[in-house]
């Protein structure tokens, strides 16, 4: 299926927003996990999680992410759109270095390069292989 330039640019905006929200979610999630006390039982995780405000923020990010994601999926295959969001690896890796003081060595840089190459391969093909409009009224 061919896509119009408008669809294509909407898709780009949607994917970019998804990636930014995903990156934000990962960092907030780790920050929230770091504030949990040592865990003894699975139930404690849920119990403690509900009292940590950062998990509420995380929930709001997820709702926003879902709305944007459903829009993206209207214009693209799942097997096209989802790999593109791997760009958030690159963003998370960079921000983990800045925020959590994690290390960034040569091996990780090669990893980032491979992720970027992979995304380039996925983005080569068309966004939609089958019609998603078959069930529309």
């Amino acid at each position: 299926m061919s896509s119009t330039p408008l669809t294509r640019s909407r898709l780009a905006v949607g994917l970019t927003t998804s990636i930014l929200l995903d990156t934000l979610a990962q960092l907030v999630w780790k920050e929230a996990a770091l504030r949990l006390p040592p865990l003894t039982a699975f139930a404690d995780v849920v119990q403690t999680g509900l009292h940590q405000p950062l998990f509420i923020v995380l929930g709001l990010i997820f709702v926003l992410q879902l709305l944007v994601w459903l829009k993206v999926l209207e214009h693209a295959d799942l097997s096209f759109a989802q790999p593109i969001t791997a760009l958030s690896y690159v963003a998370v890796c960079g921000l983990s270095v800045l925020w959590f003081g994690e290390n960034l060595d040569a091996r990780r840089l090669i990893g980032i390069a491979l992720v970027l190459l992979g995304i380039w391969f996925v983005s080569r093909g068309s966004a939609l292989t089958i019609s998603s409009a078959e069930d529309k009224p």
């Binding site: 459903l70 097997s79 690896y89 069930d135 009224p137």
Partner: protein, 110 residues
């Protein structure tokens, strides 16, 4: 099991669960008349994965856990082909495998 072994095992489980939730979200768009139902199922499945992933993050560094979750691209591509009948072209597979490899390298250096 050591915390790391447990964390890794749970992470693989997370990848399949998340793949399944993604299938639900795509079904919501493919079948607009049952959109609410599919979004609902997908959200519950995704929430279950979120709780499990929180446990994983308590066991592993984000720098290990997050790149390894690149497995989700493989599980989702498999499920997209099997369930959604999407045409996962060789180019897409190469892309997904490169992402997996890149993510693996990111994890291995931790």
């Amino acid at each position: 099991m050591s915390p790391i072994t447990t964390g890794l095992a749970l992470l693989v489980l997370c990848a399949w669960i998340e793949g399944a939730s993604q299938i639900c979200f795509k079904q919501a768009v493919n079948f607009p008349r049952r959109k609410a139902l599919w979004v609902g199922i997908g959200s519950v499945v995704h929430l279950a994965e979120a709780v499990l992933y929180t446990v994983v993050l308590a066991l592993l560094d984000l720098s290990i856990a997050y790149p390894l979750s690149g497995l989700v691209f493989v599980t989702t591509a498999c499920l997209s082909a099997w369930i959604l009948r999407e045409v996962v072209t060789p180019t897409r597979w190469i892309g997904v495998m490169l992402i997996l490899a890149g993510a693996g390298l990111l994890a291995a250096s931790a």
